[in-house]
């Protein structure tokens, strides 16, 4: 393929020289012929000069012969070049038309290529494992519970007696404090069985994976993920043998895995490092990965594993409180399938909208070129009169469009490169983690074919219109031809199509915008402005009893760097912990228990976060470990469980501890704006120490606060990880990242669609106006008032808009109905239906008004017509 391309390249490169040679040869041959003729004439007795003249006379039109010879030699490429030259001349002569075309195509193609690049990476490309389609993940399904892993003995049994699987490996995940050279963080660490890396078939880029000796009890080797290598060791190639601390224990780096290997499994959790799984612990639960034997389908393998595990799972799992979970079989799926399935609806949504935009682009440029063809009728007529065949003119228009479209695609692709890298860097989590999205060959190929298709779509009709012009009429008339019925019909159709399509996109974006407004209008229940927060993660070696000491020291250290009220505990948008509560003072009974969040907080918490305590009191420093346990419940708790009682003063208990309710606090949306506040119980951090801890500080300088928090953490405990440090408001927005992304993407598409469409409407009306100057002048002379004429033009311009809007409303209805099956879209709607009448009406009206303005502006040309001069010009 590459050789063929190279050969083609050489041919093209040599072509001008070859053509020049052929031309010289032809000229020389003709000259030789002429000489023969002259000699012949001289031989018959003429004087040399006369002989020459006679010979030339007989010879005839040498240029015409040459032309005929060129035809016989074959000259496709010649014509193409000539068309290209004409096309370039068009660009020089009409730079605005060219620029508009290039930009329009760039938008249409660029957005499509960018989205396709992401979709291709996620949905089509193989994951970076050897024979990735034979690689499966296996888990157990328990009734209404998350995927369940396998015990050591289960996975050992699978290894020995499932013929459908050639190799099998397990990884058990733990969250650990990871400290390398650079910083401290909390991350997932995988403990793996010996053949884990072999099953994936991926080699490390530096060093090695685990060998047999690494599984000895005293060995401490670690393989790092690419990300960890970069963040902890700055990508240093001399990393082997260096130390990395996992939960304070030192491990030795033996290998670095390639990029993209960190995200695996249905859980999608990115691993920061892998260590060997110590043997002889049957309580470890494994995520199991396996390779399918070559002639086995996933279904066959699944039933084999199912048959093996089923007898081992006779007793249902028992949860605290006596609830049982029944075993529902074994699930087996190709690695990466869940991530693909999750990302697919969003990508489909974006790709469909991008496709709509491309259609709008085509319709828009179609109108532009149609108007262009009509105004260029003289040029085409002249060429036709000089003998250009119809096909030749059609080809010229197509080539011009092709040149502009390829230029547009080039610009659009450059734009797509930026868009794609931006898509990779925004944390909208619409793409599976760990995937590198970048423009590759298939995307460029798509850009090229889209540009050519676009060019064909928008120039085919104008080309035919151009070629059908009657040359005689075209040359003779110097003034305007009124465009024909066909042209007008075509213009109406194209404008209506644009209006239709952009109404669909606009309504989609409108629904998202309205949802977003609804979401942002939800009361948070606390005031994140001016608060910086961070999650403090002590290593697993620390116990909850260390918490009091930690907060005391931390507050002291923090005070040395920054001043402002500090609170500890369960900050909104942090870790959420739920437990079973029972109201009343009797013995704890599971079947009378209620599920509610526990928020273990320091006394200053309600002040710092400005969560109102509406009744009773907040916590005091006197609510210490030794004092009587107290609790504060939120309004959602009261609404759900109080049943009319006044809860202040009543008792509330968990399975192990009793509290007295001393206050009622306002509701807080603690995990997402769109989520209703859940019942929650606040307890005093001193009375309920919790190692899952956040710190919040009210300060005007959140940036300095982050540095202060980091410094304080280093001073208190080198293995204390600081996670998600920054303004609390940023956390709230980060949770809405996906919502914001879809809103941004759809608004972008809608904005471009609307802009193109309105520009298209304007362009057509302006074109019609310029074609009708004479007619309008005559009407003015005959007594038409400018106002009435403008009115007529407005109505004429708005007719296709009205048709488009009417059709667009039905299309939008159908589209939003279809989108109810698209989970990505549906999950974005908040407090409105997908057929929200307000959005439908508002968007339609808005587009109509803008369209009316776009028609009115060119109609004002009537005011500038001086009837007398119009009549005189012709």
């Amino acid at each position: 393929m590459r050789e063929r391309l190279a050969a083609l390249g050489r041919m093209v490169a040599r072509w001008p020289r070859r053509r020049a040679l052929a031309e010289t040869a032809m000229a020389e041959e003709m000259r030789a012929h002429l000489e023969h003729r002259i000699q012949q004439q001289e031989a018959s007795g003429l004087a040399p000069a006369e002989a020459r003249a006679a010979a030339l006379r007989q010879f005839g039109n040498a240029e015409a012969f040459k032309e005929a010879c060129r035809d016989a030699r074959g000259r496709r490429f010649d014509n193409l070049l000539q068309d290209a030259r004409l096309g370039l001349r068009l660009i020089r002569r009409q730079p605005r038309l060219a620029a508009v075309t290039v930009i329009t195509v760039a938008l249409g193609v660029g957005l499509n290529v960018a989205v396709f690049s992401a979709a291709r990476t996620v949905l089509l490309d193989d994951l970076p494992y050897r024979d990735a389609d034979r690689l499966v993940e296996i888990w157990q399904v328990l009734e209404s519970a998350r995927p369940q892993q396998f015990s050591t003995s289960d996975s050992e049994a699978m290894r020995q007696s499932v013929p459908a699987l050639t190799s099998i490996a397990g990884v058990s995940r733990r969250v650990a404090t990871v400290r390398g050279k650079a910083n401290v963080t909390r991350a997932s660490v995988g403990m793996v069985t010996p053949d884990f890396f072999g099953v994936f078939g991926v080699e490390p880029i530096i060093g090695r994976t685990f060998g047999e000796s690494d599984f000895a009890p005293d060995a401490r080797p670690a393989v790092l993920a690419h990300e960890t290598w970069l963040s902890q060791f700055g990508g240093d190639r001399n990393v082997l043998g260096r130390s990395i601390y996992l939960d304070g224990q030192v491990w030795t780096v033996v290998g670095i895995m390639p990029r993209g290997f960190s995200a695996i499994g249905a859980s999608g959790a990115e691993m920061a490092a892998w260590t060997p799984q110590p043997s002889g612990n049957d309580r470890t639960m494994f995520s199991v990965f396996a390779r399918l034997a070559s002639d086995v389908t996933p279904d066959q393998a699944q039933s084999q594993v199912d048959a093996l595990i089923r007898p081992r799972q006779s007793a249902p799992a028992v949860l605290p409180g006596g609830r049982t979970l029944h075993w529902n079989g074994v699930a087996l799926e190709r690695v990466g399938e869940s991530q693909r399935a999750e990302a697919a609806p969003g990508l489909w949504l974006l790709q469909s909208v991008a496709a709509l935009l491309l259609f709008i682009t085509c319709a828009n440029l179609g109108n532009l070129f149609l108007a262009q063809a009509v105004t260029r009728y003289r040029e085409f007529g002249m060429r036709a009169a000089l003998g250009a065949r119809q096909g030749r003119i059609v080809r010229q228009v197509l080539t011009e469009a092709g040149i502009l479209a390829i230029g547009g695609a080039a610009v659009g692709t450059a734009f797509a490169v930026f868009a794609v890298s931006a898509l990779g860097s925004v944390d909208a989590s619409i793409l599976p983690a760990g995937l590198d999205v970048a423009l590759r060959w298939p995307d460029l190929l798509l850009a090229l074919s889209l540009s050519l298709l676009t060019a064909l779509a928008f120039s085919a009709v104008p080309a035919v219109v151009a070629s059908r012009l009657d040359p005689r009429r075209a040359i003779r008339r110097t003034a305007h031809v009124t465009s024909g019925r066909g042209t007008k019909l075509m213009q109406t159709g194209l404008v209506a199509t644009q209006v239709l399509l952009s109404l669909v996109v606009l309504i989609g974006a409108g629904l998202l915008l309205k949802s977003f407004a609804h979401v942002m209008a939800q009361p948070l229940g606390f005031d994140p402005a001016g608060v910086a927060a961070a999650d403090l993660m002590p290593s697993n070696l620390k116990t909850t009893d260390d918490t009091r000491e930690l907060t005391r020291q931390f507050e002291m250290q923090l005070a040395e760097h920054i001043s402002g009220p500090v609170a500890f505990g369960s900050v909104p948008y942090g870790t959420i912990y739920t437990t079973a509560w029972m109201l009343g003072s009797g013995a704890f009974e599971w079947n009378r228990s209620l599920n509610a969040e526990v928020r273990s907080v320091s006394p200053s918490y309600f002040d710092v976060l400005r969560v109102p305590v509406e009744r009773g009191r907040a916590f005091l420093s006197s609510d210490s470990a030794t004092a009587a346990p107290v609790a504060i419940v939120n309004r959602a708790f009261v609404a759900r469980f109080a049943t009319g009682r006044d809860l202040v003063g009543t008792e509330i208990q968990t399975e192990s501890k009793r509290f007295t309710i001393v206050g009622i606090a306002g509701d807080v949306r603690s995990s997402a704006l769109a989520q209703l506040p859940r019942p929650a119980v606040y307890v005093s951090l001193d009375q309920w120490p919790d190692s899952r801890l956040s710190v919040a500080i009210r300060t005007p300088d959140a940036r300095r606060a982050s540095q202060a928090i980091a410094a304080a953490a280093r001073a208190v405990d080198p293995d204390l990880a600081v996670v998600k440090s920054g303004p609390l408001g940023a956390r709230v927005l980060a949770v809405e990242a996906r919502r914001r992304f879809y809103l941004f993407a759809l608004s972008l598409f809608a904005g471009v669609s609307a802009a193109l469409t309105v520009a298209g409407i304007y362009g057509v009306t302006a074109h019609v106006a310029s074609q009708r100057t004479r007619e309008l002048g005559i009407r003015l002379v005959l007594g038409g008032t400018p106002f009435r004429l403008k009115g007529r033009m407005l109505v004429g311009g708005l007719l296709p808009v009205a048709i488009g809007l009417a059709a667009g409303l039905s299309a939008s209805w159908l589209a939003t109905t279809a989108l109810q099956k698209n989970t990505a879209f549906k999950s974005q709607l908040y407090q409105i239906t997908s057929h929200d009448p307000g959005t439908f009406a508002g968007v339609t009206f808005g587009l109509f008004v803008v369209a009316a303005i776009a028609c009115w502006l060119p109609a004002r040309v009537v005011d500038g017509i001086a009837p007398a001069s119009v009549l005189k010009t012709d």
Binding site: M26, E28, H33, E35, N61, A68, R73
Partner: protein
């Protein structure tokens, strides 16, 4: 345009046959080809440059003749044309076709 020299308009395709035929005994340059045709037809068939060269280029594109540069008798550089093997086969085919056609026309003219 270019056929005004020809005393009789050649049938479409017959020029190709004539060129191939005069080339069957060896290579000739353009003028030589036209001259040979004129001589053999006793000045009835005069091939103008306007038809000759396009025909030659056409035959070349089809691979029936090839050309190389040589010295003509009046000491000018000229392109000499000669038959290729496929050209030779083509000549046989066209000659057979031609003979069938002329004998058929002859029969019609004699007997009708």
């Amino acid at each position: 345009m270019g056929n005004k020299d020809a005393s009789i308009d050649l049938l479409q395709g017959t020029l190709d046959l004539l060129i191939l035929r005069v080339l069957q005994h060896g290579e000739l340059h353009g003028w030589g080809i036209a001259d040979r045709i004129r001589q053999h037809s006793s000045d009835v068939l005069v091939v103008g440059e306007g038809s000759l060269y396009p025909a030659l280029y056409r035959l070349k594109t089809r691979g029936w003749v090839t050309s190389s540069w040589g010295q003509s008798e009046n000491n000018r550089r000229a392109s000499f044309y000669r038959l290729t093997p496929t050209g030779r086969r083509q000549l046989e085919r066209e000659q057979a076709d031609w003979e069938r056609l002329t004998s058929a026309i002859g029969r019609v003219i004699r007997h009708a």
